[in-house]
């Protein structure tokens, strides 16, 4: 037989990655240990439509009620459930739709992980930034069902730059500061609480030949979790710079990487290593303290890298870009673990860190109750015997409730484990977590109450009229969505 070199990939650990492409499709790839760590596309959400091209995405992968925010080319920002891709909220363009020209696309999107308002547990906060530098922070309340209107607070909007194009926007881990930079825009840092600019970078001096390189930042990232003062930025002139706000306004260190512009920078959790990807598909890891190249990720990758993401727990990074491949790499050995061909130019990849191999069966079992309910309904209609229906419904509800409780308990367990494992986490975060857990409990209780109310309602309606089935079915649908 002829000698053929197949991609010998050792297989990746169980993980779940979500990729976004230029046709507005969202694809979920999963690797499971049962299949020998082969990554496969398991789901595809959305219909191909170029105007819905995904420009930015952000995930809040908390244990309870995770959320995925997606910014589209037509100006819409959507909040999805990363578990099943259900659309939770769709926000049209901001109120300045007429003013915004077509070129003013959203470049940065951040979904805040911490809750801002204590009163409404179902609200979330979004930061969006457009090319022109228009930055908006708004909180959105997720409605119970799609039909309800979203009650937004008044969005606070400000402009981060007078001229130029913003190309990168990043919010630090504690979510107090945001960083903006771009073509003709020096990196500047804003305090998100007061909406004031607290720091601006200064461009490096002319070189020995007296040539001044114009400012053109393409990507940036904060270096460590609890320090917003250090960050790394990549420029169009294939230069990677390290800034330290506490030291000076000019870069503390800078070095060149290959010949094409740096397109993606991601930090490692250790706060020293960064991963850089450039326009011709080179991916490398660099120790930013010394600027020394640790090594390149070689794997016949030939298209520009648009996004790199570090998995929060596993020693794995994912990269994607114009070669339409999602590639998963091991950090230590810098080996390609697996590659999936996803057919379109990819714009962004995020990890869903809650995915666990063992739990797959469990989540699949717990997920569909809503579907089950929906499936049950036609049967109920056929049978025309209300008491039986009641029993069934009660049963199913109680089951789902139990499951919910179980989930919550398990998640708590995990959290405690995590906190034990991670020594670095300070007390604040712990207390925050506790709060979160409490909140989740509250949510559960709320839901229980609601459900009980609704149950009563449905009972009443059944007693009132047998022929009002359509209403009943509607209500039950609403319930199913809630559950």
């Amino acid at each position: 037989m002829p000698r053929t070199t197949t991609l010998e990939s050792p297989g990746c650990p169980p993980l779940r990655a979500i990729t976004f492409d230029v046709l507005g499709l969202i694809k979920v790839s999963e690797a499971r240990s049962k299949q020998g760590g082969v990554t496969k596309v398991v789901e595809r959400w959305g219909e191909p439509d170029a105007s819905r091209c995904v420009l930015a995405a952000s995930i809040n992968d908390r244990k309870v009620d995770p959320l995925l925010a997606v910014a589209r080319k037509n100006g819409a920002v959507e909040l999805l459930s990363p578990i099943n891709g259900d659309l939770r909220v769709s926000l049209a363009t901001t109120n300045q739709t007429d003013v915004q020209s077509q070129e003013d696309n959203i470049v940065g999107l951040h979904l805040f992980k911490k809750q801002q308002s204590e009163s409404s547990p179902r609200s979330c906060t979004l930061l969006t930034c457009t090319t022109k530098g228009l930055t908006t922070v708004r909180s959105v309340t997720i409605p119970r069902s799609l039909g309800d209107s979203t009650c937004d607070d008044t969005p606070t909007t400000w402009n981060v730059c007078a001229a130029g194009n913003v190309l990168c926007c990043k919010v630090d881990e504690n979510e107090n500061y945001a960083l903006f930079g771009g073509k003709g825009v020096e990196v500047n840092i804003w305090d998100l609480a007061t909406h004031t600019k607290i720091w601006t970078a200064k461009s490096p001096p002319k070189n020995s030949l007296g040539i001044f390189t114009p400012t053109w930042f393409t990507s940036a990232t904060f270096m460590s979790k609890d320090d917003h003062r250090k960050f790394a930025a990549g420029t169009n002139s294939h230069e990677v710079r390290l800034y330290d706000m506490s030291a000076q306004r000019r870069p503390v260190m800078s070095f060149d990487f290959r010949e094409t512009p740096i397109k993606a920078i991601t930090e490692d959790v250790d706060g020293n290593t960064i991963y850089i990807g450039n326009g011709s598909g080179d991916l490398a890891s660099v120790d930013i303290r010394t600027g020394k190249l640790l090594g390149c990720f070689l794997g016949k990758c030939s298209g520009s890298i648009r996004s790199i993401t570090r998995h929060p727990d596993l020693p794995v990074i994912a990269s994607c870009g114009l070669d339409s491949y999602l590639r998963i790499w091991d950090i230590k050995s810098r080996q390609l673990l697996s590659a999936v061909f996803l057919k379109q130019h990819l714009t962004k990849v995020v990890f869903d860190s809650n995915f666990e191999d063992d739990e797959v069966a469990g989540t699949v079992a717990t997920m569909p109750p809503s579907e089950q309910d929906i499936d049950d309904e036609p049967v109920d209609r056929d049978e025309e015997s209300p008491p039986v229906v009641k029993k069934k419904k009660k049963r199913s509800k109680s089951r789902s409730l139990d499951e919910n409780e179980e989930e919550a308990v398990s998640s708590k367990h995990k959290k405690t484990k995590k906190s034990r494992n991670l020594d670095r986490e300070d007390e604040e975060s712990r207390s925050a977590k506790k709060k979160k857990a409490k909140k989740s409990q509250n949510v559960d209780e709320d839901e229980e109450e609601l459900i009980s109310v609704e149950q009563e309602k449905s009972k009443k309606s059944k007693v009132k009229s047998k022929d009002g089935k359509s209403k009943k079915s509607k209500k039950s649908k609403g319930e199913s969505i809630d559950v």
Binding site: L25, S302, F341, K343
Partner: protein, 357 residues
Amino acid sequence: MGNKRKEREVQSDDDAPAKSRTKKMDKADGGKPQLLPSMIKNKDKRSALYAKLKHEKKAEKKKNAKARAALESRALELGEELPPKKVPRTIENTREADETVCRPDDEELFAGNDVDEFSKVLNHERVPKVLMTTCRFNSTRGPALIKDLLTVIPNSEYYKRGTYDLKKIVEYANNKEFTSVIVVHTSRREPDALLVIGLPNGPTAHFKLSNLVLHKDLKNHGNPTGHKPELVLNNFTTRLGHRVGRLIQSLFPQDPEFRGRRVVTFHNQRDFIFFRHHRYTVENKADKHDKTKDKNKDAGVWPKTLKGDIYAQLQECGPRFTLKLRSLQYGTFDTKGGEYEWTHKAEMDTSRRRFFL
């Protein structure tokens, strides 16, 4: 001393292996040869064994061929189905499996095609208009190739390069509503690269150009008419190939004039794209007797049977060259800030059975 002792040892040791060797030889005589020629140190014996093995192999091959021929002839006699013919293994049909090969049932592919950079031209919304230019210093074969390409691609114009930056030219072409820019790059008076830029925001393909034969250097070349040519694109199978194919397709008008009987071929084989330009005629057998004889004498046209009594005749005209893709860049020409969709890298060349187009 040492040597002698060694010899003695060797002799004493030799007894056992010698026997085994003879045994092996016996086996080789009887059936399976187990002793490889490379194991024998004596050259005479080694070459003798090698010759013998080679002879055996040849004889077996001949026997097999004869058996096959016999089977075939018998099948012919009895009117049975012929035994299946063996397909020779080539590099093409043992190509490495590629998951990026386009499938006709891929709806995402078609959805992507509808919105890509070429869709306007290919959906007849815009008429293709091509600007041709050269590199900064060109002479001899460069302008000659441009002259030939101007006849091949309809609605194309040549602009002198002057001292303009390519980015400025792209900008200018955008303003003048050109749909593509072609740059012929020459080095040492020989065209060696071709740059095809899609406008207004289409991709930029950089090809290596080789084996150039100009129109006037072709023997028995034909002279093309001014009709819009037909286009043949062969073997652009993968997603990358598909994209390159569409880029090439967008250079030509989408409504060929079949009256002109003029065809332009881009044939991809093992990642090399062969460019040919032909005229053809389709004739009946009845007319053939009086016509083709004359033509054969004059123009060297070889008739070729197609079906029944219809003949197609092919005559090459225009330039002939080979292209090889070096890089495909996203967006228009930009060497400094460009993003590449695909570039050739040395680390990709680990197998000669892997093709990208």
